[in-house]
C-alpha cells in the first residue's frame, strides 16, 4: 500500500484514503463548444500512459476530499512529489530516477 502526501493536509496518508482521478494537466478549453474534432479527441481520449514519470490527479477522498496533482514513477510506483490543483507542472523533480 502506497503512502501519498496530501498537499492540503500536509501529511503522508495510506493509499486507501485516496482515489486516482486520471492524468493531470489536461486543460479544458475555455471555449469548449468551438473545439475542433481533433482537439476534442486529444482532450478527451488521448492519454500518455508513459513508462516512467506520469503526472496524475488524485483525490483525498476519505480525508480533506480535495483533488491534487502528483508525480509518480510508473516503474517504481514511487511518488516523487504532490502539489495543489491549479499549480503548474513542476519544472524540477526531486530525486527522479533515470
Amino acid at each position: 500500500m502506497l503512502l501519498i502526501r496530501c498537499p492540503y493536509c500536509e501529511e503522508e496518508r495510506p493509499e486507501l484514503e485516496f482515489r486516482n482521478a486520471g492524468e493531470a494537466h489536461i486543460a479544458r478549453s475555455a471555449d469548449m463548444a468551438a473545439t475542433s474534432d481533433d482537439d476534442f479527441e486529444k482532450f478527451f481520449f488521448i492519454r500518455s500512459n508513459p513508462k516512467g514519470i506520469i503526472y496524475e490527479r488524485w483525490r483525498h477522498m476519505h480525508g480533506c476530499a480535495r483533488f491534487f496533482n502528483a508525480v509518480r514513477d510508473t516503474v517504481s510506483d514511487r511518488f516523487l512529489m504532490t502539489y495543489k490543483a491549479g499549480e503548474p507542472k513542476p519544472a524540477k523533480l526531486p530525486g527522479a530516477s533515470k
Partner: protein
C-alpha cells in the same frame, strides 16, 4: 510408551508429555511440542503423500516452511478441513486428525501411479502440446482426467466457521526472521528505545540454532541463548515479539503483510480466539534476517521417502529427539551434511557412509567424522536410490564413471549447499546480484529502506552474522529515530560468539548420473514433479528465457514457490544453454512467501460485514407491513407490499391501480440529494447540467440532465431552487456518490473561480412521495405555512414549511404522472411523518407502493431511468430529451462531446415505446430487436428492450426500447426473436397512459 524412533534424552521436548493423533485413520503417540512431521517420523512413518503428476510415493524433504512433499489435510470437524497443510509446520495437539492427499485407494497402493509408464505423456510442457487436438476433447476428456489425477488436496465444502482478525501496526524497525541474526538485530535496535517488531514463522525462536549443536553464544548453547534473548525482548515495552508469524509479502514503502497463526496449534482454540491474525505493518526500517534454505542433491529417484535434507535430519534429532532412520547414508557437496552425520552418529544412529562429490576436501568436520569411524567416499556420486515406498539403498559410483556399489540404507541425508532466502528482498523490488565465487544470488541493489543480515545476505559463520546483524539493527534504529525523533544510545552489549559452525559452497544443478545424456527421474521440483530432464527438454524445445523455462516446465510454480528448486533449475537451464547463470537470470519472486488463507485476507469483511447495508428511516415500518425488499446498491428498498394471499404480480397490479385511483405512499429516501449553495450556484448548475438555470425562479423545480464530457447522459433528477443562491439537487439512487464526485471535480479543478459549496444531504432528508388524485387531501391537513392550492403550489414547485410540526421541503412533482408531492423531512422524523401521512392516507384508501410499482407507473408515462433505459452511450437526443438542453447556452459539460459526428449522425438508436401485437405478452428486458425475422442467422440486431412490464392500468404489456432510427419508425412492425418463437411488436411513442398529461393536476 516411547515411539520407536524417539531417542530418550535427545532433543528439547518433554518426552513424558504425550499427545495422541491419527494419520490416515491410524492412531499414534507424539510429544507436546512436536510437529506432525516429527511425530510421524518418531513412529517411523516416512511415506506421507503422493506426488502431483506421477503419484510417486513421497516423504518429508525438510523440517520447515520450504516443504514441497508432505502436504496433508487437517480435519477438526466437518467444516474445518484444511488441505495442503505442510506437516513440517503443523504443530501437534492432542487429538489432531490428519489425512494424506492425492492418492486412491490408499497411500501405499495408488492406482494412478501408472504415471511411471505414462510419464512420457506428462513431460515438460505437456499441457501445451500433448492434448492439443481435438479442441472439444479438452472440455470432455483431457481436463476432467487431468484434474482428477493431478491436483493437491480437496477444498472444504462448507463455510469457514472460524474467524480471522486483522491489525495495523507501525514500528521503527521491523525484523523479519528470528534466528541468531534477527535476534541480534532486534536486541541492538530495541536497546535504543525505538519501536521494534520481531517476527518468526516458527513456534520457537532460534532459526538454525535449533539444530546447530556446535553454536555457543555468551557462554550458552545457541538455542538457549536465543530463548533468553527473546525473553528479554518480550519484557521490553517498545518491543512486540510475534512467533508463528510469517511475513508473506513485502509491498511499497516498507509495508509488510504478516500472518500470525493464532490457534491452529491448539487442541481447543475456544471461540474467543481467531484462527489467524493478519498484521499489516508499516516500518521505518526493515531488517531482513530470513536465513538460507538447504538444497537437495539432484540424482535418480532422489524423491524416495526417507531421502531428506541433512539439516532437516539435524532438526528432527537435536530439537525433536527423533532419528530419521537407523542406518543413514549421507550425500553431499559441502561440509554441512557432515555435521548431520556426526550428530546422528553421536546419538547412536548408524551412519552407513558419507558420499562427497568433492575430491579431497579438508576441514574440522571431516576430521571429526573420520575420527568417529564414519566411512567417507570422496569424488563419488550417488547415482540412484533404491526402494519404492521407502528408500532402501544408495548406489555409489566414482563421479567420472566406474564400478558401482550399492549400500543398504533406510534414509539418505543430502546437502547441495545453501540458498540465501532473498524472497522478501526481491519482493521489495531489490535487485539480486550473483556472486560467482560462492555461486549464489545475494541482495544487490536496494529499492527500499531495508537491510539484509546473516545467511540471507550471503554472510557465512555465526560470528560474522552476529556482528553484521547487531550493527545493522543499531543503524536501522538510528536512521528510524532521525526520521521519527528520539532514540537513545544502545545500552546493551553485543552478543559474543564462543563457538560456531561454518560452511559455504556446494553445487548447483544435476549431479553425475543425472546429467545431459540421461533420462532418469532426478527431481528438481518435487511439488510439481519437474525433473532435470524436463528442464533440459524445455531448452531443447526452444525456451531461452528462464521465465519461459519456468512456465513450460512449471519448475518453481508450485505452492512452495521453488524454495529448494529454483537454483537447481536455473543451473541446469544455464548449462544446457551454454551460458553463465547470471545471464540466464533468476525468476521473479512474488508474494506470498508461503500460502496464505483466504480467511486471513478477508478477515471480518464477509457476510453482513462485507459491504454496509443502508436502510431508510422508514425501513422498520415497511418491515412491519411485510414488505418484500430488493437490493439497490447498498440500499434495501421496499419492492412491493403483498397482502395476504397476493403474489408479486397481484400486489404490484393493486398498488399501480390504487395510486392512479386514489393515492399511494412511496419511500423515496434513497434518492441522492446534493445541496448546491453560494453566490455562483446558478452559474455552476448551468455548467454541470444541460438545462438553463439562471432564470429558474426560486420556489420552482426543473428536471435536469447531467452529461459527461463525452456528451452521454450521466445522471438526471429534479432540482428545486430554494433561493437565488441555493439549489436542492436530486440524483438517481445509485448515482449519488459519483455525481457528487463529478461535481466536486469540476468545482475544484475546472471552475475553481466559482464561489459554490457542495453538500451531500442524502442521509439528512427522508423523502416520502405521495402520489395520486387524493395526494393533496392526504398531505394538506398536516402542513403548516404552505399554501397548497394549484395557484400557489403548481406542478414543479417547492416550498419550505412544516409538516407534523417538523421542517419540510415540500416538492410538488411527479414520477407517476399523477398529481404528486415529495415530502422531505429530517431523517430522524421520517418514520413519524410517514406514519402520520399513512394514517391520513388510510382515510382515502391509499396504499403503500414499492419500487416495482414505481417502475411500472413511470414507464406508463415514458419517464426514463438513467442506467436502465440509458447505458452510457445515449445522448439527450437519443432519449428524446432534446427539450431539456439549453439551446442558447455556450458551455456546459458535454456540450462539445454531444456534437461529435457520430453522435449527431442519422440512424442512432433512439428511445421509443413498443407494444406487443398480443397485449398479454410481456417482453423480456434486454431482448434484441430485428427488422426482418426471416433473415439468416446471425441476424442484424437493430435495438433492444430496456424496460418492460405488465401494466394493469393500460390493460396490456408496455415496453421501452432503444431502436436504430426509432422515432422514424412509428407504427412499424418489428420482431423480437426468442427461444420459444418470434414476438411481433409495434413501434409507438413512449407515453402509454394519459398522453396529454392532464392528471398532473387531476
Amino acid at each position: 510408551m516411547i515411539a520407536a524412533f524417539r531417542i530418550p534424552g535427545a532433543g528439547r521436548l518433554k518426552q513424558a508429555e504425550t499427545a495422541r493423533f491419527s494419520f490416515d485413520g491410524q492412531s499414534y503417540a507424539g510429544v507436546e511440542g512436536d510437529t506432525l512431521a516429527s511425530a510421524l517420523l518418531a513412529n517411523g512413518v516416512h511415506l506421507v503423500g503422493r506426488s502431483f503428476k506421477y503419484h510417486r510415493p513421497r516423504g518429508f524433504l525438510s523440517a520447515g516452511a520450504e516443504e514441497p512433499n508432505a502436504l496433508v489435510e487437517i480435519k477438526r470437524d466437518s467444516a474445518r478441513k484444511t488441505p495442503n497443510v505442510r506437516a513440517t509446520v503443523q504443530e501437534l495437539y492432542d487429538g489432531l486428525t490428519a489425512q494424506s492427499q492425492n492418492r486412491w485407494p490408499s497411500l501405499s497402493f495408488d492406482v494412478s501411479a501408472v504415471g511411471d509408464i505414462a510419464s512420457p505423456l506428462l513431460s515438460a510442457g505437456f499441457y501445451y502440446k500433448t492434448f492439443m487436438w481435438p479442441k472439444s476433447a479438452w472440455k470432455n476428456l483431457y481436463e476432467p482426467k487431468i484434474r482428477a489425477a493431478a491436483g493437491l488436496g480437496v477444498a472444504p465444502d462448507q463455510p469457514d466457521p472460524d474467524h480471522y482478525s486483522a491489525r495495523y501496526a507501525h514500528c521503527d524497525v521491523l525484523v523479519l526472521g528470528g534466528g541468531a541474526a534477527g535476534i541480534a538485530s532486534a536486541l541492538a535496535a530495541a536497546e535504543t528505545g525505538v519501536r521494534v517488531i520481531l517476527a518468526d514463522e516458527q513456534a520457537d525462536f532460534g532459526g538454525s540454532l535449533r539444530f546447530e549443536s556446535g553454536a555457543k553464544i555468551d557462554g550458552q548453547d545457541g538455542f538457549a541463548w536465543a530463548q533468553g534473548a527473546v525473553a528479554t525482548l518480550k519484557a521490553m515495552d517498545n518491543v512486540r515479539v510475534l512467533s508463528r508469524t510469517t511475513a508473506f509479502g513485502y509491498y511499497a514503502q516498507n509495508f509488510v503483510g504478516l500472518v500470525e497463526r493464532v490457534s491452529d496449534h491448539l487442541q481447543n482454540p475456544g471461540r474467543g480466539l481467531p484462527r489467524e491474525r493478519l498484521w499489516q505493518v508499516r516500518a521505518s526500517r526493515v531488517v531482513l534476517a530470513t536465513g538460507a534454505i538447504e538444497r537437495h542433491m539432484v540424482f535418480a529417484d532422489n524423491d524416495r521417502p526417507g531421502i531428506m535434507l541433512a539439516s532437516a535430519a539435524r532438526i528432527y534429532l537435536n530439537h525433536y529427539g527423533v532419528a530419521v532412520g537407523r542406518n543413514v547414508g549421507v550425500y553431499t557437496a559441502n561440509d554441512s551434511a557432515y555435521a548431520a552425520a556426526i550428530d546422528l552418529k553421536k546419538a547412536g544412529v548408524g551412519v552407513a557412509a558419507i558420499v562427497d562429490l568433492r575430491d579431497n576436501p579438508t576441514g574440522p568436520v571431516i576430521d571429526e567424522a573420520r575420527a568417529l569411524g564414519i566411512e567417507i567416499n570422496f569424488g563419488r556420486a550417488v547415482i540412484r536410490a533404491g526402494g519404492k515406498l521407502r528408500v532402501s539403498s544408495m548406489t555409489v559410483q566414482p563421479k567420472n564413471g566406474g564400478g558401482e556399489r550399492t549400500i543398504p540404507v533406510d534414509a539418505i541425508l543430502m546437502s547441495a549447499g545453501w540458498t540465501p532466502s532473498v524472497h522478501l528482498f526481491s519482493q521489495s523490488r531489490g535487485k539480486v546480484a550473483f556472486n560467482d565465487e560462492t555461486k549464489r544470488f545475494v541482495p544487490g541493489t536496494y529499492a527500499q529502506d531495508c537491510v539484509s543480515v546473516g545467511a540471507c545476505n550471503g554472510t557465512d559463520g555465526l560470528s560474522a552474522t552476529i556482528d553484521e546483524a547487531y550493527s545493522a539493527g543499531a543503524k536501522a534504529a538510528k536512521e528510524a529515530a532521525v526520521k521519527n525523533a528520539g532514540a537513545n544510545a544502545a545500552k546493551g552489549a553485543k552478543p559474543k560468539v564462543d563457538a560456531s559452525e561454518s560452511w559455504s559452497r556446494g553445487m548447483l544443478g544435476a549431479a553425475p548420473g543425472a546429467g545431459a545424456d540421461t533420462t532418469v527421474k532426478a527431481f528438481v521440483d518435487f511439488q510439481n514433479d519437474v525433473t532435470a530432464k524436463d528442464i533440459r527438454q524445455a531448452v531443447h524445445e526452444g525456451m531461452r528465457s528462464i521465465e519461459h523455462v519456468k512456465r513450460f516446465t512449471t519448475n518453481g510454480m508450485a505452492t512452495d514457490q521453488g524454495k529448494t528448486s529454483n537454483m537447481h533449475g536455473l543451473a541446469i537451464a544455464a548449462e544446457t544453454l551454454g551460458k553463465p547463470i547470471p545471464q540466464v537470470g533468476l525468476t521473479t519472486f512474488r508474494a506470498p512467501y508461503t500460502p496464505v488463507t483466504f480467511g486471513s485476507i478477508v478477515g471480518h469483511a464477509r457476510g453482513p460485514l462485507f459491504d454496509p447495508t443502508r436502510k431508510t428511516a422508514i425501513h422498520p415500518w415497511a418491515e412491519r407491513q411485510g414488505a418484500v425488499f430488493e437490493d439497490v446498491g447498498q440500499w434495501k428498498r421496499a419492492w412491493y407490499f403483498p397482502k395476504a394471499g397476493e403474489d408479486m404480480h397481484a400486489a404490484v397490479d393493486r398498488e399501480c391501480v390504487t395510486v392512479r385511483k386514489t393515492a399511494g405512499l412511496f419511500d423515496a429516501s434513497t434518492l441522492g440529494k446534493i445541496e448546491v449553495v453560494g453566490p455562483d450556484a446558478a452559474r455552476f448548475m448551468e455548467l454541470l447540467y444541460t438545462n438553463p438555470w439562471e432564470k429558474l425562479e426560486p420556489g420552482r423545480c426543473r428536471y435536469g440532465i447531467m452529461l459527461r464530457e463525452d456528451g452521454f447522459i450521466y445522471d438526471d433528477g429534479v432540482v428545486g431552487r430554494l433561493a437565488p443562491d441555493r439549489f436542492h439537487v436530486t440524483t438517481t439512487t445509485g448515482g449519488a456518490p459519483r455525481v457528487m464526485n463529478h461535481m466536486e471535480d469540476y468545482l475544484q479543478t475546472e471552475f475553481p473561480h466559482l464561489n459554490v459549496w457542495l453538500t451531500s444531504i442524502t442521509e439528512q432528508w427522508a423523502v416520502i412521495a405521495v402520489q395520486g388524485p387524493k395526494s393533496r387531501d392526504i398531505i394538506a391537513p398536516l402542513v403548516e405555512g404552505i399554501d397548497m392550492s394549484d395557484e400557489a403550489l403548481p406542478h414543479m414547485s417547492v416550498r419550505e414549511g412544516k409538516i407534523c410540526g417538523v421542517p419540510t421541503r415540500l416538492f410538488r412533482m411527479s414520477f407517476t404522472g399523477e398529481r404528486g408531492f415529495e415530502v422531505n423531512v429530517p431523517a430522524d422524523h421520517g418514520q413519524a411523518v410517514w406514519e402520520a401521512l399513512w394514517a391520513e392516507g388510510q382515510k382515502h384508501g391509499a396504499c403503500a407502493y414499492g419500487t416495482e410499482a414505481m417502475h411500472v407507473l413511470r414507464a406508463e408515462k415514458g419517464y426514463i431511468i438513467v442506467g436502465q433505459d440509458t447505458d452510457g452511450t445515449v445522448t439527450p437526443n437519443d432519449a428524446g430529451l432534446d427539450w431539456a438542453v439549453g439551446k442558447k447556452k455556450t458551455d456546459f459539460v458535454g456540450i462539445r462531446g454531444m456534437a461529435r459526428p457520430d453522435l449527431v449522425a442519422k440512424g442512432r438508436k433512439q428511445l421509443v415505446g413498443l407494444k406487443t401485437k398480443d397485449p398479454k405478452v410481456v417482453l423480456e428486458e434486454g431482448a434484441q430487436i430485428v427488422g426482418d425475422p426471416k433473415q439468416a442467422i446471425p441476424m442484424t440486431m437493430i435495438g433492444h428492450v430496456t424496460s418492460s412490464y405488465w401494466s394493469e392500468n393500460c390493460g396490456r404489456s408496455i415496453a421501452l426500447a432503444l431502436v436504430a432510427g426509432g422515432r422514424d419508425r412509428m407504427g412499424e412492425t418489428l420482431y423480437v426473436p426468442m427461444p420459444n418463437g418470434t414476438i411481433e411488436v409495434e413501434v409507438t411513442g413512449m407515453v402509454f397512459f394519459d398522453e396529454k398529461g392532464e392528471r398532473l393536476n387531476g
